[in-house]
Subunit: 346 residues, 2 copies
């Protein structure tokens, strides 16, 4: 298994990216191609006491870096020698099995869609993070790649999220819920109402395990393995979850730091606080999978440290080994609306 | 100030409703009309050691109760002698200054809209809870009354939420944010993009203090005083916040209950835990204001205890005294889209 890593993307690049890759090679037995400015990558290796890349690591030089200020839609074209463009071309050409980047989300999505391309028949690629929930995490699909969706997109997200939950999270028969504001099929906007009918049909055909609408609260508590949503609502869900978690963690920290007695209390529950932090920590999960692209692409968090990059690489390897792209390819006919399929055939 | 209270709505009715009303009369100096089954209300009073309603309390008998299984849209018509219908007719007829119910949200919304009516020119009434945020709470408008909205509805929500934040929460020049998935005006769906332009215009005219788009995370942290949203997205935001808070509170409880040592830790930070709980507790805030109706209506949480009912009554009195219905009425012309206003004139 060979993972292509964008050495230059993210707030802590290239140091965290290189060190995360080193740890992944050591611990996970994967090979890594680091793409970026060769001299900067080598300097990090030197600081780690290495004169050259260790076994399992390859460096592919790319002189440019896509920055936050670049236009996400066109950055990969304007900067042809960027780590993003070079890395995704390597993926497209089969030089590696998956691509990991902690750089600009929008630029990565546009570049992956246009260089690596979507799976044939898939209308939109989705961003599918694993969000921390009461059942040990759920796949949220989509969390922002496509703000405005059609029922057909959501049908495709449901199938793709289901395969991901089964193959990558190891959930047999994953429960698929439609993010909504009530249980009844009539709830929500026209989008949710129409999607409900499609998901129900797919459920009745035994293609997915659709459990109905899921409200934000129940989703967090862990009622489903896959939360199906348009990108706008999914992003609201994700950011609200992050915000609430972060806000409460801050309150908690203040509570424990108040005085000597509360600091003693913190010591007494230090184990518990660690697992509490772990629940809130995005680094534990790794990155966000781009599902629907014809090869595995993982977006690591912009603030990723070594540990988060290492986890994103593990996730990329798991994604690549899972066979879900084959699942999607083989079943894509069941994810199409008859009318639109006809239109394309005609 | 006289508040009409639905004695029969909610999980703990009529006991909590009667006891909450008693506390409100005692502590807040308001008068209360309790609407519901006279004998059941009297029984609660008897249990509280009273033979008849105390000064400031009046009982209006209504023999029926709207139940969860009733059709929300028609319940108030089918049950003409329900506490809901009788209570709202009292409000309409000016027998009291505001109405509080912990019963079915849908039935209350439908009944308030059709009996008490919307303010002239207001297209949709909105449900506007005060959500716990880093700045001491923000008005979320709408949280589910209207799943599918037009830019004009959202423009009206922005004005109405702003008046509420100013007059009821006491925020001078309240910051109004549009719930969205990024800062740029181009973010979100067509609804957010069009609404952004309207809110910006209203801001430039000095009618509201529009601070731009606000993401879920920043909204929780307290970036704005008013979070403007369609009912679908607002409900996702609210329920995700509640779910995440509840989920983390559960984790925390488990952490403190683990063994004797962790229980000792809980004792040492008991003050902090209390304020932590207070942040998460919906009862502290009281209820959800229905804004856009021509008289003040407050929906208390279905699980309200005495304390929550008492707080909802306080909130109703504050709403009634605030003058925001007059604010809305006087400024409604600025909340209309020119084209549609023209259409109605013609």
């Amino acid at each position: 298994m060979k993972i292509i890593v964008d050495a230059m993307g993210g707030d802590n690049a290239p140091a965290s990216n290189v060190k995360g890759a080193l740890a992944a090679i050591r611990e996970q037995g994967v090979e890594v191609i680091l793409v970026g400015r060769g001299e900067e990558i080598l300097q990090v290796l030197n600081e780690e006491g290495m004169k050259e890349p260790p076994a399992g690591m390859e460096i592919v030089h790319a002189s440019e870096v896509v920055e936050i200020c670049d236009n996400p839609a066109t950055a990969f074209r304007e900067k042809k020698d960027s780590s993003l463009t070079v890395g995704l071309n390597l993926l497209k050409d089969g030089k590696g099995d998956a691509f990991v980047s902690a750089g600009s989300t929008g630029a990565l999505l546009a570049a992956a869609t246009l260089i690596v391309k979507r799976i044939k028949g898939i209308r939109r690629a989705a961003m599918a993070p694993v969000v921390p929930t009461g059942n040990g995490g759920a796949v949220l699909i989509d969390c922002g790649a496509t703000a405005e969706c059609t029922p057909e997109y959501l049908l495709q997200f449901a199938f793709m999220g289901s395969y991901y939950a089964e193959r990558v999270l190891g959930r047999p028969e994953p429960r698929v819920g439609l993010l909504n504001i009530g249980a009844e099929p009539s709830k929500g906007t026209e989008l949710q109402q129409k999607t409900y009918a499609l998901l129900q049909e797919a459920g009745e055909q035994g293609r997915i395990h659709f459990t109905g609408n899921v409200e934000g609260k129940e989703a967090v508590y862990g009622a489903v393995d896959v939360i199906v949503s348009d990108g706008y609502s999914g992003n609201i869900f994700l950011k609200t979850m992050e915000g609430t978690g972060g806000f409460l963690a801050k309150q908690l920290k203040a509570m424990f730091k108040k005085n000597l007695i509360t600091k003693l209390a913190a010591l007494l529950v230090s184990g518990g606080i660690r697992s509490f932090k772990k629940i809130l920590d995005a680094g534990e999960v790794g990155g966000t999978a781009f599902i629907g692209i014809s090869k595995p692409v993982i977006k690591a968090h912009g603030s990723s440290d070594d540990y988060a990059i290492k986890n994103a690489i593990r996730q990329a390897a798991k994604f690549a080994a899972s066979g879900i792209i084959e699942d999607i390819t083989e079943n894509v006919e069941h994810m199409r609306l008859p009318v639109q399929a006809k239109k394309e055939e005609g």
